[in-house]
Amino acid sequence: MARLSLSRVRWPSGWPGVVVFNTFARVAQYVLLRAVALAITVVVGVYLTVVITNMGGHVDNIRIAQVRESVGGRILLDRELQSLPPSEVQRVINQQVQVEVQRLGLDRPFIWRSFTYLTDALSLNLGRAEQLTSDSGSRQVRLILLERLPATLLLFASTFLMLFFVDIFLALFLSRRYGSFLDKVVVALAPTSAAPSWFYGIFLILIFASLLRILPFGGMVDAPPPDTTLAYARSVLKHMILPVAALSISSIFLSVYSWRTFFLIYASEDYVEMARAKGLPSGTIERRYILRPTLPTIITNFALGVIGLWGGAVILETVFNWPGLGRLLFQAIGHFDIPVIVASVVIYAYLLALTVLVLDIVYALVDPRVKIGGQNRQ
């Protein structure tokens, strides 16, 4: 109710319904603006990727090779042309390729072509992979990527959510009893977060898979996948333990440490002292006087952390043989499969933008400045 009364101060003519509607409209407007800004950012980012990739004419070469392949195949199947001598057939192929190159606009200056590539890249319409195939045997880059996406999302989304809540609760717990043994342990362990997750992954594999042999070395399910859904899920969970543990170890101590310090600083604010003097229970103080005002900062930092973790995903998946986008990118490098590499960069840009957008929406929901219209004008 406090929020509504505050709003009423700003818009004295409004009855509560209008105020609620106003709040909703503001949040929607904010989210929409952010979405548009992010969409523009993604377009610019992908355009940069296209320019980087094509700097040595790589995309052009791929396209021309694809044209040559399709034209060659069509002509070799043509019965009438089969009777011609090979040199003549070659001449026809060259002619046809020339026509096709002109039709596709590959002879136009790069600045024009780059926009064609941009729309292709944005729609992930990157043609066919050179070496890699999807599990169903398709060479369509889009299908290959979409097939790998769920594995990556499963691993990272579950880890992010888990880490977020564990971090905050542990940090609150520690800030309540700072100076205790557990607190000292976390402070001492904070520097371990300098190493990325794949690094801990190697050690976890060494201990739990190689020495103790209780958990699998990698992969997502057992080699013949179990038949029943329940057994399948259990197998996936078992394979997730080590990668999730590696991701957690690499970030948990540092973030708990910084949250706990952050909460401690807020806990020494005057209004918190005041609340304490009033005799409010510590749970209420934590929720209303510490957690509530710090929530926007928490979310901003969480967003930055998530973005940082995406970067480590490529190698973590490679180390754990996790059949996601990261390992796909690694395989594509190994096979020098350029369409897949470009597409991976694009899809990572999408994922990052989506992460930022989701967190922006959450931000809009918790930041009172967005709701009451006092947007921070920088």
């Binding site: 610019v44 904070a190 520097p191 371990t192 990325p196 190689s210 995406w310 970067g311 350029i338 840009a349």
Partner: protein, 443 residues
């Protein structure tokens, strides 16, 4: 500022961190001095020609310090260096040479490989050699005979015929096994390989060198190409520190100056810097580095340049901006404007130095993250093609299933050094953070 620096020695964690960093710098310097650049390159790309006397996948020497472990080291016996060599006259201008390659074998495990290298100097007819193996308990086994071309390698442990003759066991096991025992156990004592050769021409000479490859080598062991991992660990330290330091300096100093410029000039400069920062946040840095590594070059210096470029517009620009916005309004800036200081002077000499206390802790913790970035790229096979680095060793280990096959040392060496680097810089960085940000100090 100076007072803050003086406080550093009061923190144990900072001292530990500094000690670790000093040790790493020492290691890197030793590496550069002991193995010059060209030599490191030659050694790491040398292949069999350079490393032929090393065992494959040997463990580091210190494993023998564990009680009950007595793994063999590599033994080399050469007829040119000490082994007895007797020449004699046979009939019809045929000379004989008898080379006796003796060595003591005091170890509890079998060697990993046996190679015999010949060096024959003849014009037309190559010498003919018969080989005999004498064990400490007095048995004599024939290892067959062969014509020896100029410089030939006889891989005893790969000789299938010999293996069949010795009862199916691989030669390096069968030749050293104690026949009295049920399970194969090496017999300790003095072994002898006898080379009896017939030389058919005058002026012909023959030398032989026996290499009994051990199972331990050097301080860090060897990899699948017989290379001594110590070389990579030493040079890796130099590369890692240089990369981390340059990338951190490059990106953080530029970030600072750009943030200051944005705030000082304001308006469109500020706005565009803000927008670029937001754009950069969404650019997937690692995939872009991978793209560059795959399509253009893997040179570590180009990658370094791109890392700096991508790091310039990092999220910390927003932190600096907030501070600069306050600094800009300070009276001393107004004063400097009044006496006509140039924009450049104000930015570089009056604004930037104010933020350095905030910068320093972050800068120190940034270094290991770049060291790990280099290792990450190497893990993906995108490291510098020439220089040996820690990440490259990890990549080799990963590619060859080191953990699966139990070559733990291969991973542990570089991993420990990486961890030490991270720990050292993080400890110092955390302490500096406490010193420079007084609000943290009482916590």
């Amino acid at each position: 500022m100076m007072n803050s620096w003086r406080e550093v020695p009061r923190y144990t964690s900072a001292l530990v961190g500094l000690a670790i960093i000093a040790a790493l710098v020492g290691l890197a310097l030793y590496g550069i001095i002991a193995i010059p650049y060209g030599e490191a390159e030659r050694l790491w790309r040398g292949g069999e020609g350079v490393w032929i006397d090393n065992p494959r996948n040997a463990q580091p020497g210190w494993v023998n310090l564990f009680p009950g472990r007595n793994l063999p080291e590599t033994i080399i016996v050469d007829s040119r260096e000490g082994a007895t060599k007797r020449s004699g006259r046979g009939s019809d201008s045929v000379n004989t040479v008898q080379i006796s390659l003796d060595f003591d074998y005091p170890y509890d495990d079998f060697p990993s490989e046996l190679n015999l290298f010949f060096d024959a100097r003849s014009r037309e007819r190559p010498p003919h050699a018969s080989l005999f193996w004498l064990t400490p308990d007095g048995r004599m086994l024939s290892l067959g005979e062969q014509n020896v071309e100029s410089s030939e390698r006889y891989s005893i442990s790969l000789d299938r015929r010999l293996a069949r003759q010795l009862g199916g066991q691989s030669p390096e096991v069968a030749l050293f096994a104690d026949p009295a025992r049920e399970s194969p156990q090496p017999l300790q004592g003095r072994y002898q390989l006898l080379v009896e050769a017939l030389l058919f021409e005058a002026g012909t000479d023959l030398d032989a060198r026996l290499v009994v490859y051990g199972k331990v080598h050097g301080l860090a062991g060897t990899d699948h190409l017989r290379r001594d991992i110590t070389v990579a660990l030493l040079w890796g330290a130099a590369v890692a520190l240089a990369f981390g330091l340059l990338a951190a300096v490059g990106s953080s100093v530029t970030t600072l100056i750009i943030a200051a410029m944005g705030v000082w000039y304001g308006r469109w400069a500020d706005a565009s810097i803000q927008r670029i920062t937001e754009l950069n946040l969404i650019l997937p840095a690692l995939p872009i580095l991978i793209l560059v590594g795959t399509l253009y070059t893997r040179s570590i210096w180009v990658i370094l340049g791109i890392v700096i470029l991508l790091g310039v517009f990092s999220a910390s620009i927003k932190v600096y901006r907030a501070i600069f916005l306050q600094v800009k309004e300070s009276p001393y800036i107004e004063a400097s404007q009044a006496y006509g200081a140039s924009n450049r002077r104000i930015i570089l000499f009056y604004m930037v130095p104010r933020v350095i206390p905030v910068l320093v802790p972050g800068f120190v913790t940034l270094i290991p993250s770049f060291v790990f970035l280099e290792a990450s790229l190497a893990i993906l096979g995108l490291s510098d093609p020439v220089l040996p680095t820690w990440g490259k060793v990890l990549n080799d280990a990963q590619q060859n299933g080191a953990l699966y096959k139990g070559y733990y040392y291969w991973v542990l060496g570089p991993a420990m050094l990486l961890m030490l680097t991270g720990l050292g810089f993080a400890l110092v960085g955390f302490t500096l953070d406490r010193i420079f940000n007084p609000r943290l100090r009482e916590l």
